[in-house]
């Protein structure tokens, strides 16, 4: 990644963070935001910025980074530019795992992502099995179909679980299905941040393996990579990243699809650079999408996952056409 691209991406993220802190049901001027961040200004502004928006924007940054990094890793491993945690059913599996333990009465912010992780890992394994049974692990469309089917099953199971759960015991179905940064308590933010940072560190550590893996199974084996072990590691790490975001903010689709594609269109090459670039851009995208969700129909709040889907679906169709034409 060139220095100019890196500077551009950091600037985009900072701008998104500023927007996220300034805009909402009450719009604040940039100087008021900065003053509040430094602990000065009137108490209302202080409460809004530091009490509500800082944790919310922080959660958005880490959720976006996690989704984008997860998508980058899945795309390189599966050699499929359409792969991303939501479309592959990974996020759905994570949500099911999380809902299961919440209904069971466990809601610790440390434990929740782990349950989501188990759900995500099971979903990945299932999707790969289904795709292999259909004989099309290498066909991007068969893989996506398997992912969509597994995802649909998971959402159905979540709806059943939530419909039968005691009222008030769980956050609403909409929260899990459509994603929201509304539950940005400090403990949740810290937990998501920790998991996302661990996952990203692992991806950066294995960056060269991912570069080699993206050349294809045979070429990777020819270069001395233990393909099966590397693939397992990357799937688990991508699942962990997706699971952390789901535990913190529910299902948010298409970020993992759109963001790596934008990073590559900006000329970013190689897995390590793409993971970093995608994390910066992903954070920015989710924070901005959340600003849109909060302001467009204010005081009502749109579901965040709906906003990302409205952008993501047309993009997906466009990329699908390009993939099918190859």
């Amino acid at each position: 990644m060139s220095r100019r691209t890196a500077a551009l991406l950091v600037a985009v993220l900072l701008l998104a963070v500023m927007l996220g802190l300034a805009l909402g049901s009450v719009a604040l001027a940039p100087d008021v935001v900065v003053a509040a961040l430094l602990g000065r200004g009137d108490p209302t502004a202080l409460a809004i910025v530091n009490g509500l928006r800082v944790p919310r924007v922080a959660l958005g940054v880490f959720v976006g980074a996690g989704l984008a990094a997860s998508g980058t890793a899945l795309q390189a491993t599966l050699r499929n530019p359409l792969a991303e945690p939501y479309l592959l059913g990974v996020s759905g599996g994570a949500a099911m795992g999380a809902v299961l333990v919440v209904v069971g009465g466990l809601t610790s912010p440390v434990f929740l992502p782990l349950a989501a992780f188990v759900g995500a890992a099971v979903a990945v394994a299932l999707v790969l099995l289904v795709a292999r049974a259909a004989g099309g692990r290498s066909d991007p469309r068969v893989l996506l179909m398997a992912g969509v089917v597994v995802g649909a099953f998971c959402t159905a199971a979540i709806m059943v679980l939530l419909a039968t759960a005691p009222e008030g015991a769980v956050r609403g179905a909409l929260w899990w299905m459509m994603g929201s940064l509304g539950d940005a308590r400090a403990a949740a933010v810290t937990s998501v941040a920790a998991y996302v940072l661990v996952g990203m560190t692992l991806l950066l550590w294995w960056g060269r393996d991912l570069d080699v893996l993206s050349l294809g199974e045979e070429a990777a084996a020819a270069l001395g990579l233990d393909v099966d072990r590397a693939t397992r590691r990357i799937y688990l790490t991508a699942s962990l990243l997706a699971a952390a975001t789901v535990a913190g903010a529910g299902l948010i689709g298409f970020v993992g699809l759109v963001v790596p594609a934008i990073a590559r269109a900006l000329g970013v090459r190689g897995t390590r650079a793409t993971v970093v670039a995608a994390a910066l851009l992903g954070g920015a995208l989710v924070v901005v999408a959340d600003v849109v969700a909060r302001t467009v129909a204010s005081p009502a709040e749109l579901p965040l996952g709906a906003v990302t889907a409205l952008v993501g679906v047309p993009f997906f169709l466009w990329r699908l056409r390009a993939t099918a034409a190859r």
């Binding site: 060269r208 570069d211 294809g216 270069l223």
Partner: protein
């Protein structure tokens, strides 16, 4: 030296073994070619070399060490394989693509060492790919792409080179260029093991040919020993004659029948 001893390979779930007791040796300084009809087991042998298919019986050894006892990374520093097909989904710059040939030598975070840079530079010069270094892999023509892939394999710094159908889809000039490059590499002491459909060019360039038929060795030896009409006719199940290549006098296969002779 790459050595196969009574190698038996079976694809998972397959009734019949794809390779049924093949022995051969690819020695340094020679081009050894594996030829045979479609489905005769050529590419299956390459898959076994890549560790993607475990032998059912017999084995593969590299310089006397059994393949199973060699770590995959270490193997990649001893034997460089150019698989049949490869299409990077996410295009890379050619220089970065070739540098991936140093993967088996590198630690996860260390940047390229002087040895890495040196090996890449030599590979680039040897495969004559300097003009493409700044291009993206998805902008290369078929011939350029094959040369770039060979360059990456050369950057591995191995003493043995295995190529699976390196000249499929190439026109005559690019095909000859690849064969001449392999010939030069063998003269410099590399062991070259080549899987090819191009019988006539193999007969011209190879030192040793192994002809496979239904997973077994139907004939092996020098081009003159293997390129015999009756053997090839039986293996390829097509009437043919073997003549002399007017350029260098190597045996050349001419399939019979054609327009108006059916």
């Amino acid at each position: 030296m790459i050595r196969l001893d009574g190698l038996v390979l079976r694809h998972p779930g397959a009734q019949e073994a794809a390779v049924q007791g093949v022995s051969l040796a690819a020695a340094a300084g020679r081009i050894t070619a594996i030829v045979g009809p479609n489905g005769s087991g050529k590419s299956t042998i390459v898959r076994a070399l890549l560790g993607r298919l475990a032998p059912e019986a017999g084995g593969v050894s590299i310089d006397g060490t059994p393949l199973a006892a060699i770590d995959r990374r270490r193997f990649a520093t001893q034997v460089a394989v150019v698989p049949q097909r490869e299409e990077p989904v996410f295009p890379l710059e050619v220089r970065d693509f070739i540098a991936l040939g140093r993967y088996p030598h590198a630690s996860p975070f260390a940047g390229p060492t002087a040895a890495d840079r040196d090996a890449v530079a030599r590979a680039v010069a040897r495969a004559q790919v300097e003009p493409f270094l700044d291009r993206r892999t998805d902008t290369l023509s078929g011939g350029e792409w094959q040369r770039v892939r060979i360059a990456r394999a050369l950057a591995q710094g191995a003493r043995a080179l295995v190529l699976d159908e390196p000249t499929t889809f190439l026109d005559i000039a690019h095909e000859m260029a690849v064969f001449e490059l392999l010939d030069a590499l063998a003269r410099e002491g590399q062991a070259v093991l080549l899987v090819s459909h191009q019988l006539n060019l193999v007969a011209r360039f190879a030192d040793h040919i192994v002809l496979l038929h239904h997973g077994r060795v139907a004939a092996a030896g020098t081009p003159a020993e293997v390129m015999r009409g009756e053997v090839l006719e039986r293996v390829y199940e097509w009437p043919l004659v073997v003549s002399r290549d007017p350029a260098v006098g190597a045996p050349v296969l001419v399939p019979l029948r054609g327009r108006g002779t059916r």
